[in-house]
């Protein structure tokens, strides 16, 4: 198998309320060649959560062994629990020619970009801060203080959008998904990924 047939590793970041979840659901819907990366954690499973679907549930020892072996693309610790992205399944899918989608916050994205500079990073922006605030309020699940905190974090995260490869303003889900699909198509035509196309034509294969 040559590099040409490899899938892409696509990482998505964006503030809470930018609409990443809906966009990724729609992007994956009906695209059999695309897979959503599964995170690993040392927190215990909640009701209805399945191992290998919602998370890979691991013991602290298993998780630390994977870090030590370089088998985590990125990881972080929150409240005494590990969260991370195991590379094994992702790399298998990519070698099978599948595009793998990863939703991740900005620090994790940075770690992955360092380890896999060939990944394609996309930052999803809300149409405006006002619209972001509306969306957060519309959820109606959080008090004013939490909303203000989320807005402050969103502003900080958006400042890091400059470190990504692409930035998309998520005006409508359909338009955003269309733009992502164009990015994927274009990335696959890049010379850095398509060198074997040149060889194939030159060698009359």
């Amino acid at each position: 198998m040559n590099d040409n047939d490899n899938g892409l590793l696509l990482i998505f970041s964006g503030p809470s309320g930018a609409g990443k979840g809906t966009v990724l659901k729609e992007l994956l819907h009906g695209n059999d060649n695309m897979k959503l990366s599964v995170s690993a954690t040392t927190r215990p499973p909640r009701e209805g959560e399945c191992h290998g679907i919602h998370y890979f549930f691991m013991t602290k020892e298993e998780f630390e062994e994977q870090i030590a072996n370089g088998e985590m693309l990125e990881h972080a610790e929150y409240c005494g629990r590990y969260y991370g992205t195991p590379s094994a399944q992702i790399m298998d899918w990519i070698e099978e020619g599948r595009d793998v989608v990863l939703e991740i916050e900005v620090q994790g994205a940075r770690q992955i970009k360092e380890k896999r500079p060939d990944c394609v990073s996309i930052f999803v922006l809300p149409p405006s801060l006002e619209e972001l605030e509306n969306r957060l309020r519309y959820r109606n699940t959080e008090d004013e203080e939490t909303i203000q905190k989320r807005l402050a974090v969103a502003r900080q995260e958006m400042e890091t959008a400059r470190d990504y490869d692409y930035v998309i303003v998520n005006d409508t889900v359909e338009h955003t998904v269309e733009q992502i699909n164009k990015i994927i198509a274009a990335e696959k035509l890049k010379v850095s990924r398509a060198k074997s196309n040149i060889e194939r034509v030159l060698n009359n294969d």
Copy 2:
């Protein structure tokens, strides 16, 4: 006007017989926002050739003055005549937000990439060397020696495809045009070109 509204400078290369001409004609057809760059030359106009449409016809002195003033994006001399790409009109169009298409051989492309690293370079490959040979023969305008020479040059040119940003195998005109349009859309979403999108959202403009 911010950088976001600027058009793209798209440079196309590919061996004779790869089908660039047909592809670019189709690409420009019905796309009012796209313009085809007009070359300059010091050779006299042939019958039916219009100044500013087929070429900018210049005297040797005018051409050399433009070179001296850095007003040529690239130039070359063949058989005692100058050929080149004047930058003025291209830059005007780009600042108006129009995408400008430039068909150019590989040395010219290299000169432009040096002067305008933000240009997007696309190499158009034929599906195979065999197909390229068929296409050259089908034209039925050249003798065997010329065809063999063209094939040798094509092979050399294709070796330089690695220096381009994108490479497209021109299987059908429709598919190739579709791929080019996806590249254009993706390039406009690159953070390097879309920084003002981030500012706009952050500043609630």
